[in-house]
């Protein structure tokens, strides 16, 4: 009997409403463990290169890991993956909450969906029983009504639902998947893939107890971990204020994305920072399965214009910056209301904020005019315009039809030089971090297989001075300088990426894990050993992480991506205009040199293809002809 996992993968063909259960070997589970690695395996195995991501041939994977659902803080996350309609590259995105553990308790480690249903449906998995149910009455409903109706229909108050809103139904390429309106598989447009399959939701309910190899050891680790969470400074702050503290931290550091990355200091930051948030709209903390950090926020406000409902989610840092400083907006209730509209409609708030900032800048430059916007001006700081655009985008109306395509395609449609203000990497809009203040993170943006991504690697700033002690377990002993792009930075990035991506393969939250938060490398490894009973090591786990990255790279290369797609945005090569980092930029030649060194260290050739030797080393011989 396996420990930590079910040994069962559910395969569903939506075209003919059939399903079967695969039972892979322990060797397979040790090789692909879960999350991004497991998902990449199925995408490479089942997808032919070049197909339309919104065609029925796309494959959609919901992937837990061998440890998802263990009663440890942060061990709750799952991956949703498919070929991305936003980028054409591998699409994948993680979320916490309760959905992942519930899928495990319902009897499956992952669900692989193929085909397209002839009519709207939702998949219901209840203690191993699989049903494909009619979703005609749910189609057109927002995420809250969908959740309520599925709870009623299944007569299960505790059913966990991953669903899409109307943005997903209308296949907006940056539509998200959400669960409980607090947890979001936000990026790369997985909601659109669900919409293309006429799949409104996946609902799960289970009562199976997770069997662990050494439950007593897991209990010891849980108590140690949760005690540490109470005192470890980054976790203390996350518990008190969530990620909202970053608004102030990044603004004073001069890297709070402001007005479409034009600046790194926002004059209205005090109006949207954690102090204002917790003095005005904060309702309560919320959390994910078994997590002691409780970083999630609920908000409420009785306001005619920007009402806030405690059930519809509170904005986190990325959203506050995306709908706030990026758009020049310092009205926190409006930002929080915009967030709740995105949550109900099913839009990724990062891409949505970036798209609106792009539209505002195009309007400022005269590229868009009132003739394009039903007579409505789109000025920096206009909160009403931001809310209006969210509705137009989700409904694909008017200017929203163009903007719903994402900045890359929208700029192509608009023309007139709009591409100069369309900031994306591999087609995905930018998360709310500026590489000019943390170049290692900038490398992550360039090299992430999903396009612009802030969760690819640890951010440099934490490892300055003696902060580098957090990296000793990786064999890195010299302090990290955030503004350098030298060999030492590449060494940090290569190893930091492998360590960080363990979290996405094993479905563990970065806010509970290595290298920054309340976990040590040793205890992380011990936890995996105690849950699975496997004789594993940090080395083994970093190889899983690297395997995931290499598989994603192979996927992208066979889709036609080249080294020139590994890049950062124009504005990061330009000097920061104001603030503490005034005149700071990323030198293009140095950055190219850093990327070339990364390929070399990683065992990739000059064209960015993993070498035959690297594939063999990672037990990926089956991909030799694909690379």
């Amino acid at each position: 009997m396996p420990f930590g996992y079910n040994g069962k993968i559910l395969h569903v063909n939506l075209t003919d409403c059939s399903w079967e259960i695969e039972e892979p070997s322990e060797t397979w589970y040790r090789t692909y463990v879960g999350g991004t690695a497991l998902a990449a395996y199925y995408l490479l195995k089942y997808l032919k290169p070049g197909l339309n991501p919104l065609s029925k041939e796309n494959v959609l994977v919901f992937a837990c890991s061998v440890v998802t659902g263990a009663p440890l803080s942060g061990y709750s996350r799952y991956t949703v993956a498919a070929k991305s309609p936003l980028t054409g590259a591998i699409g994948r995105t993680e979320a916490g909450g309760y959905f992942g553990p519930e899928l495990k308790f319902a009897g499956f480690d992952a669900v692989v969906l193929t085909g397209r249903s002839p009519k709207p449906v939702y998949l219901y998995i209840n203690d191993g029983k699989v049903e494909i149910r009619d979703a005609g009455a749910l189609w057109g409903q927002d995420n809250w009504k969908t959740l309520e109706k599925i709870r009623d229909e299944t007569n299960e108050k505790m059913v966990r639902v991953a669903s899409i809103g109307i943005a997903g139904e209308r296949m907006v390429p940056y539509a998200c998947v959400q669960n409980d309106l607090e947890h979001f598989n936000g990026r790369t447009g997985m909601g659109a893939v669900m919409g293309s399959k006429n799949l409104k939701a996946v609902a799960v309910r289970g009562h199976k107890k997770l069997q662990m190899a050494d439950p007593q050891m897991v209990k010891v680790i849980r108590e140690w971990h949760n005690d540490r969470i109470k005192v470890h400074p980054p976790n203390v702050n996350l518990s008190k204020f969530g990620t909202t503290i970053l608004v102030k931290g990044l603004n004073v550091t001069g890297i709070l994305p402001t007005r479409n990355f034009r600046d790194g200091v926002f004059e209205g930051a005090d109006s949207i920072n954690h102090e204002t948030y917790h003095n005005t709209i904060f309702e309560s903390n919320s959390t994910c399965y078994a997590c002691a950090v409780r970083c999630k926020r609920r908000v409420s406000l009785k306001d005619e214009k920007y009402p806030l409902n405690k059930h519809f989610g509170g904005p986190e840092y990325e959203t506050i910056a995306g709908l706030g400083s990026m758009c020049g907006i310092d009205n926190l209730p409006a930002v929080a209301h915009g967030n709740q509209r995105c949550n109900l409609l099913g839009l990724d708030t990062i891409s949505t904020g970036s798209v609106i900032a792009f539209a505002f800048e195009c309007f400022e430059k005269g590229i868009l005019t009132k003739d394009d916007t039903d007579g409505r001006p789109l000025n920096w700081g206009d909160a009403d315009a931001m809310i209006w655009l969210i509705e137009e985008i989700a409904n694909r109306r008017g200017i929203g039809e163009i903007l719903s395509e994402g900045v890359r395609k929208a700029a192509d449609i608009i023309g007139k030089g709009a591409e100069k203000y369309a900031f994306h990497i591999k087609g995905q809009e930018m998360p709310m971090h500026d590489g000019r203040g943390k170049t290692g993170m900038g490398m992550g943006f360039a090299l992430s297989p999903t396009g612009a991504e802030h969760m690819e690697s640890p951010h440099d700033v934490a490892f300055q001075g003696d902060g580098v002690s957090k990296l000793y377990g990786l064999g890195i002993f010299e302090p990290i300088e955030p503004l350098n792009t030298n060999a030492q930075k590449v060494r940090f990035f290569v190893n930091g990426q492998k360590a960080w991506q363990i979290n996405n393969c094993y479905g563990i939250c970065n806010f509970c894990s290595v290298p920054i938060h309340a976990m040590t490398f040793q205890m992380l490894v011990d936890s995996i050993r105690a849950i699975t009973g496997w004789d594993t090591s940090l080395y083994d786990m970093m190889r899983v992480s690297e395997r995931s990255n290499v598989m994603s790279r192979v996927f992208n290369n066979r889709e036609g991506f080249k080294t020139e797609d590994d890049r950062i945005i124009r504005r990061w090569h330009e000097p920061m205009p104001t603030g503490p980092l005034k005149e700071q930029n990323i030198d293009p030649d140095e950055f190219q040199g850093a990327l070339a060194l990364y390929y070399e260290i990683s065992g990739w050739d000059k064209e960015g293809n993993p070498t035959r030797g690297k594939l063999v080393d990672l037990n990926l011989e089956w991909l030799i002809d694909e690379s």
Partner: protein
């Protein structure tokens, strides 16, 4: 007693090149030190004492080296 504090990013602004020697009374905690330096605890990410991760309630000793970096990333 004396401790050496190393600040990073804007936490070190207007301080002696980001390094400061601070005189404290015996029994002072990291939290007390931050109050002395007028640094808000919410603006602390990495906190280490003598190259080991530290907590706000940790009691400092003479000659300790303290490193502080600001919050920097996350989703």
């Amino acid at each position: 007693m004396k401790v050496n504090v190393m600040f990073f990013a804007t936490l070190g602004k207007n301080r002696n090149q980001g390094i400061e020697e601070v005189h404290l009374s015996k029994g002072t905690t990291v939290d007390d030190l931050l109050k002395t330096l007028m640094i808000d605890t919410t603006q602390v990410c990495t906190l280490s004492v003598n190259k080991k991760m530290a907590t706000f309630d940790q009691v400092l000793s003479d000659g300790d080296n303290v490193t502080i970096t600001p919050p920097i990333g996350g989703g």
